[in-house]
Amino acid sequence: MMNVPVEEKIFHAQKAVPMDKHNSSISIKVKDLNVYYSSVHALKSVTLDIQKKAVTALIGPSGCGKSTFLRTLNRMNDTLPGARIEGSVIIDGVNIYGSEINVVALRRIVGMVFQKSNPFPKTIFDNVAYGPRLQGIKNKSMLEGIVEESLKKSAIWDEVKDRLEKPALELSGGQQQRICIARALAVNPEIVLMDEPASALDPISTAKIEELIHELKKNYTIVIVTHNMQQAARVSDFTGYFYLGLLVEHGETKKIFTTPDKKETEDYITGRFG
């Protein structure tokens, strides 16, 4: 198990954090997780603890299984035909692959932001209000409150507050991605998964997203997949390196990027890979 710098986390969180509901500092416990697509063994017995209210970055070459891993955390792999999953992912003491798990409820607790911004062809307001409406919230002022709060958390409120009824697709790529983050936050998740959220964006938009991630970790557990090592180094507290479906190494970002335990990790990080 990891040594968690609790003091540091509290320092980061400051007063924005409500009283910690749970004593454990571990948000997600992954044990012996295997994923198969038809005949491909995509993830090989991955075991990993993900810390609460911290950013965990998953790095590795494309096809290494990092996105697959991310998608197991909110069971999005369930929607793929031919996918088979073994092992356990425990959130708050419950195995989310258990038999009585409500997948729909799980996805409200574990939000997700995708690689390519994918706002619905609806207005900005309707995009962000989509999740709350699913839960049956119809009260206009309540929805307005949630939308405003979510947009503020995603640091885009000032840019769009005057045009909430405009189509979300009229925004720039970076703005669209922040709308998607707001949309995910509006469901009030505990954990936010991000699948290369800035890979399709320009450097300025990327910087904004990174800044946002830094802000968000005060309230949320964040797991981010990135192929950009500088990004991982900048935004994350912990880093896991995946290669060929295996979790090669996992630990504090500082340590991984300076003195990794494994030779493969060092090769990848220093660019001597492949």
């Binding site: 929607t79 035909p81 996805r107 995708f114 994918n118 619905f120 989509y130 999740g131 699913l134």
Partner: protein, 320 residues
């Protein structure tokens, strides 16, 4: 050496056969076009003078050698509306099942094969089926169970529309499927990741984006159904009816009576051209009726084609 390369490069190719082939396939494309415009021109030339207000709004008189075709227009529209009401929900639901639920297993392939085959069933076979199944089997048995005498067990608009509904079902299914597939997968993923159920995702994200394609399918189905003759021959169409197929609900609300027979534009053309006492004399009526029918179907088709182009373009913008 060099000289020979240069001379090879500049040698006049035998462009004759290439140009000949280009011209030939162009002819193959142009001749059918000419045929279309010839058809339209003949119909418009001979029919335009006939189609007047009274032609459209009056009933046939003098043993159908004079007067208008209003009952045929009325019947054609009523039958088509009834058909769409039956076919559209079923077709859209089937397409949703195929695209969103069926996966690609044996059920999917069976349905796919059934839809393709349904699209290839000869229209006269639909007519036979409508007579054998709807009128004689379903209708007669309903009459027996409900003790309604001979209400269901005879050819009427309801059964004609039901027969046509099965005929246009593949049109609606295929067009709706295309529309559903064009909705980006990432929108479904986003919705699911926000805690939506499968049906919530379909209802709130997929269908709103596929609306255009569904509408196109509906219009194409209407246009197809309006022009089909063979399926209604034995299932409800009438040679001549002295009244409109209308019934007064509760004695005072007039509505289309689906249990009555009806006159129809396409059938009217057929009987006027082949069964009329004096086909030469009624030729203007035949052209007039044809012009009305073809205007109706062309208008619908044109709207469908434009709709599809519009929505494809819009979809293109969305996915970029």
């Amino acid at each position: 050496m060099r000289e020979s390369i240069v001379s090879n490069l500049t040698v006049k190719h035998d462009n004759l056969s290439e140009n000949f082939m280009n011209g030939l396939v162009r002819i193959f494309a142009v001749v059918p076009l000419i045929a279309i415009f010839l058809i339209l021109w003949i119909i418009v030339k001979n029919g335009a003078g006939v189609v007047t207000g009274s032609f459209l709004l009056l009933a046939p008189t003098d043993g159908m050698t004079q007067g208008g075709i209003f009952p045929c227009i009325f019947g054609a529209i009523a039958k088509t509306v009834l058909m769409v009401v039956m076919a559209l929900p079923l077709g859209v639901a089937a397409a949703i099942y195929l695209v969103e639920y069926a996966g690609d297993g044996i059920v999917f392939r069976l349905i796919r094969a059934a839809v393709n085959n349904l699209a290839g069933v000869p229209s006269i076979v639909f007519g036979l089926f409508g007579l054998g199944f709807f009128v004689l089997f379903v209708g007669r048995n309903l009459d027996q169970v409900l003790k309604t005498g001979l209400l269901f067990g005879q050819p009427c608009m309801l059964w004609a529309a039901a027969t046509l509904a099965i005929l246009v079902l593949p049109v609606i299914i295929v067009s709706t499927e295309e529309a559903l597939i064009s909705v980006p997968q990432s929108h479904r993923a986003a919705s699911l990741a926000l805690g939506a159920t499968k049906w919530q995702t379909i209802w709130r994200v997929v269908i709103p984006q596929a609306r255009g394609g569904i509408l196109t399918g509906a219009i194409l189905a209407v246009s197809r159904g309006a022009g089909e003759t063979a399926p209604i021959l034995f299932t409800g169409v009438a040679y001549f009816l002295p009244h409109l197929p209308v019934v007064n609900l509760f004695g005072f609300i007039p509505m289309v009576n689906p249990f009555d027979q009806f006159m129809d534009l396409s059938y009217h053309i057929y009987i006027m051209a082949t069964q009329s006492v004096d086909a030469e004399k009624t030729l203007p009526i035949q052209y007039g009726t044809t012009l009305v029918l073809i205007s109706l179907t062309f208008l619908l088709n044109l709207v469908a084609v434009l709709f599809r182009m519009y929505f494809r373009k819009k979809q293109g913008l969305v996915t970029i």
